[in-house]
Assembly symmetry: C2
Homo-oligomer: 444 residues x 2
C-alpha cells in the first residue's frame, strides 16, 4: 500500500445506495441486473473464417493461427503438444505449500462430485416388460483453459475432476501459451487431475480443432471451460456438432445480511467478486441501515489497500449496490428475482432461510461460509449459472459428463396391451406405419 492511497482511504467509494421503499426501486434494480453481451460483427466474421479453415485443413490451419495469434514459432502440431512428463515436472517444482493446497482442493472436489454420479436403473413390470435408464460417461471431452491473466488452476480442477469422476474416457486440455508463457500452476493442476493430453493452442482455432478433429487432435464429444469472446462465439457455433457447457456471463455475488457479523467481512466479500472484472456484480441486501453504513465505511477504508483496487472501484460503481430492505422475507423474495450465481446468507440463523431460496447457483450459509472457500476447495463446483440463469440451470457437475439412454424391453404380453394403445393414438395422429408396426405384434 502506497502512502498516497493511504491518504485517500476515507474518500467515499462510489456505489449505489438503494432502499426498497423508493418508488422506482424495482425498475432501478432490474436495470442494474440487466446485462447483455453485445453482438460484435468483427468477432463473428473472424470466428466464421477460423472455423472454416480448421474444418477444411485441420492441423495446418491450427498451426498457422497459433503462429499468428500466439506468436509461437512452430511448424507442426506435434510441437504444440505438451508431454505428460512436463505436467508432472511442473507439479514437482511447485513450492510445497502450493502443491499441498492444490492436492487438498482436488481431493475435496473429487469427494463432493463422487456423490453426483448417476447410476443406471431398470424395473420390471408384472407382464415381464422391463424399462429403465442406462447411464454412460462421455467418450472424449475437451477442456478449454484461457491463457494469460485469466489462466486459473482452480478452473482446471473444477472442469477436469467432474469429467474424470464421471468416467470420461479421454480428457484433452487446450491452453494458449502466448509467446511461450506457460502457467506452472495450470500444468500442475492438469497433472493432479489426470488430464490425458494437453495442446498449447487457444482461441476459436482450439475450439474448432476439438469440435471437428484434425489429423493430430481427436474429435471430442463435448467442450467445457471458460474463454474470451472469440472462444464463447466459437463454442456457440459448434454446439450441436459437440455438446458445450454454458456460456458464462460476468460473475455475481449477492449477500443477504441482518446486520449480524462483521462489516469488514462483508466489504471484502464484495471486493472478492468485484476484483474479477469491471462487469462483475456485487450486491448487498441488508435489513439494518446502520450496518450498511458500516459496510460502506469499511469499503472506503479497505479499498485503497487492495492491489486490484482500480478494477474493484469500477465494478462497484458500475454494477454494485448496497440495498436496504424491510425484512429477510423480502430479501429472499428479491434474491429469487435476482437468481444470483453466488448467494451468501450472512446471518446468525442462516440455515433457517435456505428453504426460502429457490434460485441461486450456490448458497453459502452463515458467516464462516465465505465464497472464496467455494471457489477453491470446499468441494462443490465453482462453475455456476450467471445472468439469472439459476432460474433454469445448475452448477457444472458430474452429471454434465454422463448421459442417459432409455431402455425399452417389451415382453410379448406387454406388446399386446401396449400395441392396442399405440395403435389408437398413432391412427389419431395420422401415422399409419406407426400403427401397423404395433399391430403386427398383436396376436389375433
Amino acid at each position: 500500500m502506497s502512502p498516497i492511497s493511504a491518504t485517500t482511504a476515507s474518500a467515499r467509494t462510489a456505489i449505489r445506495r438503494l432502499d426498497v421503499r423508493e418508488p422506482e426501486f424495482l425498475p432501478t434494480l432490474d436495470a442494474l441486473l440487466a446485462f447483455e453481451a453485445e453482438a460484435d460483427e468483427r468477432i463473428d466474421a473472424a470466428v466464421t473464417e477460423i472455423l472454416r479453415a480448421v474444418r477444411t485443413t485441420g492441423d495446418t490451419a491450427v498451426v498457422e493461427f497459433t503462429r499468428r495469434f500466439d506468436g509461437l514459432d512452430v511448424h507442426s502440431m506435434a510441437a504444440l503438444e505438451l508431454p505428460k512428463s512436463e505436467l508432472h515436472a511442473a507439479l514437482e517444482r511447485l513450492p510445497s505449500a502450493q502443491r499441498e493446497a492444490l492436492t487438498v482442493a482436488a481431493e475435496r472436489v473429487r469427494a463432493y462430485h463422487e456423490r453426483q454420479k448417476g447410476e443406471s436403473w431398470t424395473f420390471t413390470e408384472a407382464d415381464g416388460t422391463r424399462l429403465g435408464q442406462k447411464v454412460t460417461p462421455l467418450d472424449r471431452v475437451g477442456l478449454y483453459v484461457p491463457g494469460g491473466r485469466a489462466s486459473y488452476p482452480s478452473s482446471v480442477l473444477m472442469n477436469a475432476i467432474p469429467a474424470k469422476v464421471a468416467g470420461v474416457g479421454e480428457l484433452i486440455m487446450v491452453v494458449p501459451t502466448p509467446r511461450g508463457e506457460k502457467n506452472p500452476l495450470v500444468l500442475a493442476a492438469a497433472a493432479i487431475t489426470g488430464v490425458d493430453r494437453v495442446f498449447t493452442i487457444g482461441g476459436a482455432q482450439a475450439v474448432a480443432a476439438l469440435a471437428y478433429g484434425t489429423q493430430t487432435i481427436p474429435q471430442v464429444d463435448k467442450i467445457v471451460g471458460p474463454g474470451n469472446a472469440y472462444v464463447a462465439e466459437a463454442k456457440r457455433r459448434v454446439f450441436g456438432t459437440v455438446g458445450i457447457d454454458m456460456v458464462a456471463g460476468p460473475s455475481e455475488v449477492l449477500i443477504l445480511s441482518d446486520g449480524s457479523g462483521h462489516a469488514d467481512w462483508v466489504a471484502m466479500d464484495l471486493f472478492a467478486q468485484a476484483e474479477h472484472d469491471e462487469l462483475a456484480q456485487s450486491i448487498l441486501l441488508c435489513t439494518d441501515a446502520a450496518f450498511i453504513d458500516a459496510v460502506h465505511e469499511a469499503i472506503d477504508r479497505l479499498l485503497p489497500t487492495m492491489p486490484r483496487r482500480d478494477t474493484i472501484a469500477k465494478s462497484l460503481a458500475k454494477r454494485g449496490a448496497l440495498i436496504r430492505v424491510d425484512s429477510l422475507e423480502q430479501a429472499c423474495a428479491l434474491a429469487n428475482r435476482i437468481a444470483p450465481e453466488h448467494l451468501e446468507l450472512a446471518l446468525d440463523d442462516a440455515e433457517a432461510w435456505i428453504d426460502r431460496i429457490r434460485h441461486a447457483g450456490a448458497i453459502f450459509v452463515g458467516h464462516w461460509a465465505v465464497e472464496a472457500l467455494g471457489d477453491y476447495c470446499a468441494g462443490p463446483n465453482h462453475v455456476l449459472p450467471t445472468m439469472r440463469s439459476a432460474r433454469f440451470s445448475s452448477p457444472l457437475g458430474t452429471y454434465d459428463f454422463q448421459k442417459r439412454t432409455s431402455i425399452v424391453n417389451i415382453s410379448q404380453a406387454g406388446a399386446q396391451h401396449l400395441g392396442r394403445v399405440a395403435s389408437i393414438l398413432a391412427h389419431g395422429e395420422g401415422l399409419q406405419a406407426h400403427a401397423r408396426s404395433a399391430e403386427m405384434r398383436l396376436k389375433a
Copy 2:
C-alpha cells in the same frame, strides 16, 4: 389402396444397399449420416423482427402477428386464451377408445418419469461443515405445440408430464390454430396432463411472448417442445434469457438384426420412421444377407399399401440404407458411431447386447419392443437426441425441469482449515481480495 398402386407392388423400392466390406463403406456411411440444417437468411431476418416487436410492444405485436400469420380475426390477447373448460370439454367429447388410450399412455409416462425425480442431499463432515445439493423445480415453463399436420397429442404428454412430475409451478402451452382449426386430441392431452393455461398462438411470436413476457402472458423460465424452422430459430435466439430443450433434427431409427424375427416387422419399423418426413432416416444393419433380401422384398410389397407411401419412398431413397455387416460386434461398433435417436435390437438374444451400446437415445430390446410403443405409451420419453447428439445428451426427462443449487455451510473449524488452502491458491491466481476474505475468517 388403389388398384394402380397394387399393380406396382412388386417394383423395386429405391434404398441404398451397402456392405461393410466395400472399400468406401465408412465414407459412404458418414456422408449418409451427415445432416446440417441450412442457414436461411430470410428466416433469420423475420425472426429478428418478430422478437423485437414482441419484446417492445408485447400483446399488440402478438395479436397482430397472429392475425397476419394464422388468419385469426382477433383484437385482444384475451381472445387468444382457451379456457380450461374447453380443454376438458374436448377430452369428454373424444371417442372413449381414444380417451382411454390417452389416459393409459399418460399414466405410464407419469409412472416412468416419477423415477427420474432428483432429490436434494447433504452430508456433514467431522468438523461440522455441511455440503450438499438442493433440487428445485422450475417456477414456470412454456410448452410449444405445433399446429396443423404435426400437431401431436403424444408430444403434449411427453413434454407436459415430466414438467408436472418435477413440480413446475405453472405450465403454459402455446399452440397455433391456423384459421381457427383446433386439434381436439391436443386439447384433450392438455386437459389430462394438467396444463395450466393455453394460448392459441404460434411461431416466433409465441416463443418471444413466453421468453420476454407480455401484458397477458407471464415470462417463463424454460421453453420446450418441437416447432418449425421459425420456432427453432426463435428458441436459439432467446436461449440465455430462458432455458430451452434441444433443437431437434430429423428423426432416426437404426435396426440391428441377426436375421431372426420377421422381415415384415423390420420393413414396417423402417416405414414408421420414414413416414415422419423425407429427411427422416431409417437404417438396417444385418448380419444375414438373405434376411436383408427378405426385408427389401417386404418393403416392395408393403410400401404400396401405406397411405404415406410417397413420403416413405422419398425418405428411404434419400436417407435410408440396408447394410450387411460381418458380425453383431461390428454392428454395435457402427451403432456407437451412428449414435442413433432410436435403436432397435431385433435379436433373439437382445438383452445380451445392451452393454455394447454406448450411444443411443433409446434402445428397444427384442422383437416385441417396437419403437411405436415407445413413441406413445411404454413410459420413457419420445423426445430424444438426434443427429449423433446421443454422444453427449439425454432423452427429455424430469431432470430437465429441475435444477440444482450447491449448499456450502462451512463451520468455524472448517473455515480455519479451508481458509488456509483457499488463501494459498487465491494468491497463486493473483486474486488478493479472494485471499483476504478467507484470511479474515482465520483465528490467529
